[in-house]
């Protein structure tokens, strides 16, 4: 079974060119992609990720709100008792990357990232999460870190 990736547009920014290109890129690379649409909140994103039982979350951030909203997604995951790897893409100043990494983000992709880099970042994040979860589960069961989803 293919790995599942949820891609979300967090916050009030409607510019969806990047996220749609990334969604198609991942789909063409064999991932099952769930796109939740515009104007998502940290809560709605984590709820959807649990319900869809995804292996990774991709967040598109162009508006500059990443330092407020991305850590909120990590916090929301802790509250829900899950740790799904998160990849952030968009306009992220160099200086902000350490803060995102510290918050637990697996990878940050800047403008101009190639399809290979996008796919590599997602694959790397999922592999690392599986190793850290201790399970050597090669595929199918995503490491057991996703519990029985609680519908919101």
């Amino acid at each position: 079974m293919a790995d599942r990736v949820l891609v979300a547009k967090l916050g009030l920014d409607g510019h969806d060119r990047g996220i749609k290109v990334v969604a198609r890129t991942l789909r063409d690379a064999g991932y099952e992609v769930i796109y939740t649409g515009l104007f998502q909140t940290p809560e709605s994103t984590v709820t959807a990720a649990i319900q869809e039982d995804v292996d990774a979350i991709g967040l598109s951030m162009l508006s500059g709100a990443h330092l407020a909203l991305v850590p909120a997604v990590m916090e929301e995951q802790r509250r829900a008792g899950v740790s799904i790897p998160v990849i952030v893409g968009g306009i992220i100043p160099e200086d902000d990357i350490p803060a995102l990494t510290k918050a637990g983000v697996s990878a940050v992709l800047g403008p101009g990232a190639s399809a290979e880099e996008v796919i590599g970042a997602v694959r790397g994040a999922i592999d690392r999460a599986r190793r850290e979860a201790g399970g050597s589960a090669p595929e199918g069961e995503p490491g057991g870190s996703a519990p029985q989803g609680e519908p919101a």
């Binding site: 916050g11 009030l12 060119r17 749609k20 508006s63 500059g64 101009g112 190639s114």
Partner: protein, 546 residues
């Protein structure tokens, strides 16, 4: 009268700038060139205006150098405006932050982290007072890039100007107010398409009666292109939207020549130099013909397309950002050779952040080099008559007409209905997303070279340039300011004005501009006004699709 004679007559009436219209060798230049053996060839200022809306073009007046600015609080942006005016910028252009674009107040939980980031935060009339403080609004023209809440922001602008002694009839400027492209491309929508179109028609109707110098809608291809469309799609979708606004105003019973002269356009200037120039030329020709033949306009001003241009944000690279100055110069030159009426040049750092003051100054200087040094403003439509450019212009026109036929059929003979159907079915959205993905594939395969991004990457690791930082201090200041405004206003007056607005919104026969003016004068917030309208109009939710 031949077209050549028509042009000559119009040119003789036009005032000229005080400048030497000659080459560096001292050769005198004609204002326009045309074939010696065809007096009826196309000329600028003569129907169908392919070569320009005016006979004398930049010999009378250079394009307006209109630099888009906005960040942090209104006071910060006011400072940037004054700096741009002091450096020779000739018009203001206001960028609003995401919460303002969506009609969400700065103290709303949904606004967390977004306040003042991508533009200036406006919650109440008090912010508009600060934004334009010390600027004579009868002397400058102002462009405001806002769509869903455009009518509310216009009301704030007018209320502030009038409180400072200006007359609304003397205010010049442009409201973007192009809601159709929001559903198609930029996606900053609030209400469903049909009630949104009512708000647009209200502003067109009200401005036609009250604000003769104002452009109530700037029909914008820019965002369609940035979202991934091709130049041909940008042209076709934008003009189709234009026809939809015309039909919507005609349905109000307005006469076409009473509002069409105030419609303006906004196009992208991307890097494919000649195709961009052909796009602008085709746009003018199509608009003139449709206004005349389909909508029976008789005033030439209804047929003369005037447009603003912005260089392509998506063409900029985060890698080796200084190279963006070169891209922007090429794109700006395409806009000028295409006959734009105003121009914004992007700053080199905009793939990374909002521009620093220095980067914005270089971008303005780029326009000044084109205007004052290069000589390209001496002759109207200097590429007219080029076999290549003329052929490309015809091809762009042909492709656009194919789209119009599709939409006209979809709407059973109504472009307005065709465009709304196209939005509701997701047709435009899919066309744009498909084109964006094709472009991305070409970049990934290397078939399309993007200097610094997928080729010629040596130097990418050099020290990064300095970028503008917007701290969350601005958000805190704005939230505090909003709390102060809320505490000192008359709460009963706010509530009464909102109730009247809601009642007016429920009656499709009422123009909403007067009740909006009443509401903003009580310092009702943008969020309160938009929420009250949403209770009547509903909220739009886009069906997510990849």
């Amino acid at each position: 009268m031949t077209r050549r004679e028509e042009w000559q007559k119009a040119f003789e009436k036009a005032p000229l700038r005080d400048a030497d219209f000659e080459t560096m060798s001292g050769l005198p230049l004609e204002p326009v060139y045309g074939p010696a053996d065809d007096e009826d060839a196309e000329y600028p200022g003569v129907y169908p205006y392919t070569r320009g809306p005016y006979a004398s073009m930049y010999r009378s007046k250079l394009w307006t150098m209109r630099m888009f600015a906005g960040f942090g609080t209104a006071t910060d942006t006011n400072w940037r405006f004054k700096e741009l005016l002091a450096h020779g910028g000739s018009g203001l252009s206001t960028a609003f932050d995401m919460p303002t674009l969506l009609g969400v107040d700065s103290d709303d939980p949904r606004a967390l982290g977004e306040v003042g980031r991508c533009g200036v935060a406006v919650d109440t009339l008090a912010d508009v007072e600060d934004l334009y403080a010390g600027i004579d609004l009868e002397k400058v023209t102002t462009s405001m890039t806002i769509n869903s809440p455009a009518a509310v922001i216009l009301a704030m602008y007018v209320a502030n100007a009038e409180a400072n002694g200006a007359k609304r009839a003397n205010l010049g400027g442009t409201l973007q107010n192009d809601i159709l492209k929001e559903y198609q491309a930029q996606k900053e929508f609030v209400f469903p398409p049909r009630p949104s179109m009512r708000l647009v028609a209200d502003t067109i109707e009200w401005c036609a009666a009250e604000m003769p110098r104002w452009h109530p809608v700037s029909i914008s291809g820019y965002h369609i292109r940035e979202a991934g469309s091709t130049a041909a799609q940008e042209l076709a979708f934008t003009l189709a939207n234009g026809f939809a606004y015309v039909e919507s105003a005609l349905q109000r019973g307005l006469a076409v020549d009473d509002f069409a002269p105030r419609l303006s356009f906004f196009f992208n200037a991307h890097i494919d130099f000649f195709e961009e120039i052909a796009k602008y030329r085709a746009a003018r020709r199509i608009w003139a013909r449709w206004m005349k033949e389909r909508y029976h306009a008789s005033s030439p001003r209804s047929m003369q397309m005037r447009f603003h241009t912005q260089t392509a944000g998506v063409s900029l690279t985060a890698q080796q950002p200084e190279v963006n100055i070169v891209r922007t110069a090429i794109e700006a030159l395409a806009g000028v050779l295409g006959g734009t009426q105003s121009l914004h040049t992007n700053s080199m750092d905009e793939a990374l952040a909002l521009p620093t003051a220095k980067a914005a100054r270089i971008a303005l200087r780029t326009q000044q080099v084109i205007a004052y040094e290069s000589g390209v403003a001496n002759v109207a439509d200097p590429l007219g008559g080029s076999w290549f450019v003329e052929s490309l212009t015809d091809e762009m026109e042909r492709l656009a007409e194919e789209t119009f036929s599709y939409l006209d059929d979809l709407g059973h003979g109504s472009m307005l209905e065709g465009v709304l159907q196209g939005i509701e079915e997701g047709w435009f959205q899919n066309e744009v997303a498909d084109a964006a993905y094709r472009f991305d594939r070409a970049l990934n395969s290397g078939r399309r070279v993007f200097v610094g991004a997928n080729a010629f990457t040596e130097g990418n690791d050099e020290d990064p340039i300095e970028v503008l930082k917007i701290t969350d201090e601005d958000e805190r200041r704005q939230v505090k300011r909003l709390a102060e405004v809320r505490s000192r206003r008359d709460g009963d007056a706010v509530e009464r004005s909102l109730a009247s607005l809601a009642a007016a919104a429920a009656d499709p026969e009422v123009n909403l501009m007067p009740p909006l003016l009443d509401a903003v004068r009580t310092y009702a917030t943008l969020g309160e006004i938009m929420d009250r309208l949403a209770r009547v109009f509903g909220r739009h939710v886009e069906q997510p699709s990849i």
